[in-house]
Symmetry: C2
Subunit: 246 residues, 2 copies
């Protein structure tokens, strides 16, 4: 069942067309009509994909030209992204891709630690067999890949996917926001995983699926909380991830 974990390398398989986010980040990839929503979606996937690293300045005019729109919808998109925690706006000055300090990142993980188990509890009763099989498959594919970007994508699809069947309105959005703000640091941290640490991550994923299969809400909550907590402690051991001075 288990597979020898391979240390993850950063080199992407190729410059394949970015598969956008598999689990829609907010509404969906708004494609037609609403320019402001479309621009927000495109910028969001660009930021999450690492195209704009934290601290990067984003200019209204650039974005407007790049996406063939005027500045008004771009400004609205900025406000949306600010609410997502992806962008930091400073009045009369500009927009920057948000950057978290170690303390702030720790805070987000503490919050996730409390909130995601609750969301999973909401979702659990409605997860059907096919969905469980899918989660299992994702966990296995995560073990087998050695591409960071693919791992991140699978991890996101695994966890957010496990919450998908929750019929929640605010909690789901809230959790997606928390994931978005920490996406970049998750990438950095993934690169630092050594073999035993990666082994534990994968084991926890499989244990989580097992608990879900047994409809064991308490068990699933417990495993998930531990999973998040362990990641938080791991990040705290690597403060250098947050050192990127401008």
């Amino acid at each position: 069942m288990t597979q020898a974990p391979v240390p993850l390398s950063k080199t992407p398989a190729s410059n394949l067309p970015v598969p956008t986010t598999l689990v829609p980040t907010t509404p969906a990839s708004a494609s037609h009509g609403n320019a402001s929503a479309r621009i927000a979606a495109l910028l969001r996937t660009a930021i999450l994909g690492g195209e704009y690293p934290p601290g990067t300045r984003i200019r209204q005019d650039d974005v407007a030209q790049r996406y063939g729109a005027s500045r008004v919808p771009v400004r609205e998109a900025f406000r949306t992204l600010e609410a997502d925690g992806l962008v930091t706006l400073i009045a009369n000055t500009g927009a920057w891709v948000s950057r978290l300090s170690l303390a702030e990142c720790d805070e987000v993980y503490q919050t996730r630690d409390r909130v995601e188990p609750l969301l999973l509890r909401y979702a659990l009763p409605s997860i059907d067999e096919a969905h469980m099989d899918h989660l299992d498959e994702l966990a296995t594919r995560m073990e087998r890949t050695d591409q960071v970007e693919e791992f991140l994508r699978l991890d996101r699809e695994f966890h957010l996917g496990s919450y998908e069947s929750a019929q929640t309105t605010v909690l789901g959005d809230l959790v997606r926001r928390l994931w978005n703000t920490t996406q970049h640091y998750r990438r950095a941290f993934t690169l630092l995983l050594d073999e035993p640490a990666a082994r534990m991550v994968h084991d926890e994923h499989h244990m989580l699926v097992a608990a879900i299969r047994e409809h064991d809400s308490d068990g699933a909550e417990h495993i998930l909380a531990g999973h998040i907590r362990r990641t938080r402690l791991g990040l705290a051991r690597h403060p250098e991830v947050f050192d990127t001075q401008p």
Copy 2:
């Protein structure tokens, strides 16, 4: 020490100038410069103050005229308020004051139940004596008032005030959002409190201050979680609060 609780009546003392929100809802009452931030702040206090009940439609033109601005900053303000959960935007159609179903409100309270104790834990070490005395005074004033709006204001200042000294960046905002979205239902629910229920609310407030004084993080977390949980269960017993069909 304790005071005979008086059933709360809805009649306000008078149409005094609305004292805005004592605990700033987001940045502060932005007064000059940024029109979009100013409009967002004004609309926010208007909505929280019950001036626009849930389900009310808000037109860009009206707001623009009322606050002497063009529609561009109004639209940005809408986006900000949407992120606050105060307004629901529907593309090409308009903006409405958000309305929660019982299930959604329950969801928010479940979330608060998990998140606010954590925030209190962050804040607790930095709460000084003067602050504790202030919290005590607020709890006492809450017992003595019979005005709903004043109770709401004091309750907000008590709880959000107790989190104030937490040096958090995301958690504080998150909790404020959760408070904002449920403000209206808190008002409706407050009117339904009978005497023993009110008594218990007040007792919990005093117990919370006592735990804070003793720097008992676990105890404070526990009391606060119970406080929120009890409110949630109380709301669930009054589904009629959510029945306001358009």
